[in-house]
């Protein structure tokens, strides 16, 4: 079948030819989605840990802004945060590309969730471990790095995996700030070729193709790192 036949409004039947023509573009979109997700989850994992540790600071000046930030970000929609980063920051003199704003938005937003996961992981380390660290006269840094985090982080890994999958599925929001991720590409193809069936089915399948293995990975991590110690 040729592109000329595409415009007709008859009941849609799956067209392999169209599907094949869409694939390269869609794969490029998927690659953008994956990049955004991977960079985003990295930001979320690092920043979340920093937030969780700062929240345990003995200094209220450190603790309260962190609590405020977490509550603020968690209580507003991701989409609003993306708009803020992309449309409002330029007015304040900070111009970010759509991709940068998007990755930052995903990272910041999910950092507040991962920080809660880290927090419970840290709280699950028994108090005696901190005390033994004092008895060994360890510095704060060594206590975190060699005693507390090595025990806390394995218990948090499954939760981080879940956030990774969730973030992947939130990535289409980046299409609203001019990022050509998978869904944006599908919409573009649909408006060019008027074939929603192929465009969006393929987009969904590509999401599935990534999120199902990711979910399997998470389940494996759960088994591996879920509570196995005394």
């Amino acid at each position: 079948m040729t592109a000329g036949a595409v415009a007709q409004a008859s009941p849609a039947t799956w067209d392999w030819d169209i599907a094949q023509r869409m694939m390269p573009e869609l794969l490029r979109g998927l690659s953008v989605t994956l990049q955004a997700t991977l960079v985003g989850i990295t930001v979320a994992m690092v920043l979340g840990l920093v937030l969780a540790m700062a929240r345990r600071s003995s200094l209220p000046v450190v603790r309260w802004p962190v609590v405020g930030f977490i509550e603020f970000v968690r209580s507003t929609p991701l989409l609003v945060q993306l708009f803020f980063l992309f449309f409002v920051l330029p007015d304040l003199g900070v111009r970010l590309s759509g991709f940068t704003a998007g990755v930052l938005g995903l990272g910041l937003h999910y950092a507040t969730y991962t920080s809660e996961a880290y927090r419970s992981g840290i709280e699950n380390v028994e108090k005696g471990q901190w005390e033994a660290a004092v008895a060994c006269n360890l510095s704060t840094r060594t206590t975190w790095g060699s005693v507390v985090l090595p025990q806390a982080i394995p218990t948090v890994i499954p939760a981080l995996g879940n956030y990774l999958v969730a973030m992947l599925k939130d990535a289409p929001l980046l299409s609203t700030i001019a990022v050509l991720e998978l869904l944006a590409v599908a919409r573009q193809l649909n408006s060019q070729l008027f074939r929603p069936l192929e465009a969006f089915s393929l987009a969904a399948l590509l999401f599935l193709a990534v999120s199902i293995p990711a979910a399997i990975l998470v389940r494996y991590l759960e088994k591996r790192y879920g509570y196995s110690r005394e």
């Binding site: 028994e126 033994a132 004092v134 006269n137 360890l138 510095s139 060699s146 025990q151």
Partner: protein
């Protein structure tokens, strides 16, 4: 033995680990600590001589563990002063005045102390050997090889040779506690604190840990503070016994006298209750 090499500055100490009368290793000066309305240390004054083995007894909830905990800096006292080896633990001199010490100072002085806990608190993600070398390598700056070598000697000392690469989860309670003792010794402390170290053990495992403690008490000149309910053991190794109740020292004396002829009714009734039970 590793714990002896660390005594170059012990001018006030006499040989054989006997108490020296002039300079106390540990001094509490009207130390107060309350948890809410519960006053656990009520203006506590007492001294422990260098090399002395001091046994602290008393009913549970009497605050005797808190004595060890404020000394280890696990709890901060509400008021009063503590000296360790002639240095203030929570205060330092600045411009001729005694002020609240910086964390750096606290950390330096608390390096003279180490502690063994009732529930061991070994690092579960580290092997036996790593448990023992962590403090020396990270806090004392001992080179890794040397720390490992010393750790092996200490494991021998506590009868745990050949278990280097095991994880704590695979050890019995008695074995865990012996590793914990080796870990504390590896810090080369001048003062060792033992907080009911046999209370969490199955009865048949108590003996192996007491055996290690006995060796330490009789063969080193470390200052030792032991909170324990093992009265026979206290009598055997203690230079002095302190009866503690309601945040205060009720009575103190040599073990023989304390256990056979306590002066205070409170001590008598406590000992009756404990010894009856044994």
């Amino acid at each position: 033995m590793a714990t002896r090499e660390n005594e170059p500055t012990s001018d006030g100490e006499s040989a054989g680990g006997r108490p020296s009368p002039e300079r106390p290793m540990v001094r509490f000066d009207s130390v107060t600590k309350a948890f809410g309305d519960n006053v656990v240390l009520d203006g506590l004054d007492f001294e422990v001589a260098a090399g002395e083995k001091l046994v602290i007894i008393g009913p549970s909830g009497s605050g005797k563990t808190t004595i060890l905990r404020v000394l280890m800096t696990l709890e901060r006292p509400d008021s009063g002063m503590i000296e360790v080896g002639g240095e203030h633990l929570y205060h330092e001199e600045r411009g001729g005045k005694l002020v609240k010490a910086s964390e750096k100072h606290v950390r330096r002085v608390r390096g003279k102390i180490s502690m063994v806990f009732q529930h061991f608190f070994l690092f579960p993600h580290k092997t036996v050997l790593e448990n023992i070398t962590l403090g020396p390598v990270k806090a004392l700056g001992v080179p890794k090889d040397e720390a490992r070598e010393r750790a092996c000697k200490l494991l021998e000392l506590v009868g745990m040779e050949g278990k280097h690469d095991q994880y704590p989860a695979s050890l019995s309670g008695g074995q865990k506690q012996r590793v914990a003792i080796a870990r504390a010794l590896a810090m080369q402390p001048k003062v060792m604190l033992f907080d009911e170290v046999t209370s969490a053990l199955d009865p048949e495992l108590v003996g192996e840990v007491l055996g290690v403690l006995r060796d330490l008490a009789l063969n080193t000149d470390m200052t030792m503070l032991l909170v324990t309910h093992e009265m026979g053991f206290a009598k055997e190794i203690g230079d002095r016994v302190v009866m503690f109740d309601n945040g205060r020292v009720v009575e103190e004396g040599p073990p023989r006298q304390m256990f056979s002829q306590p002066r205070e009714a409170r001590t008598r009734s406590f000992l009756d209750a404990v010894l009856d039970h044994e």
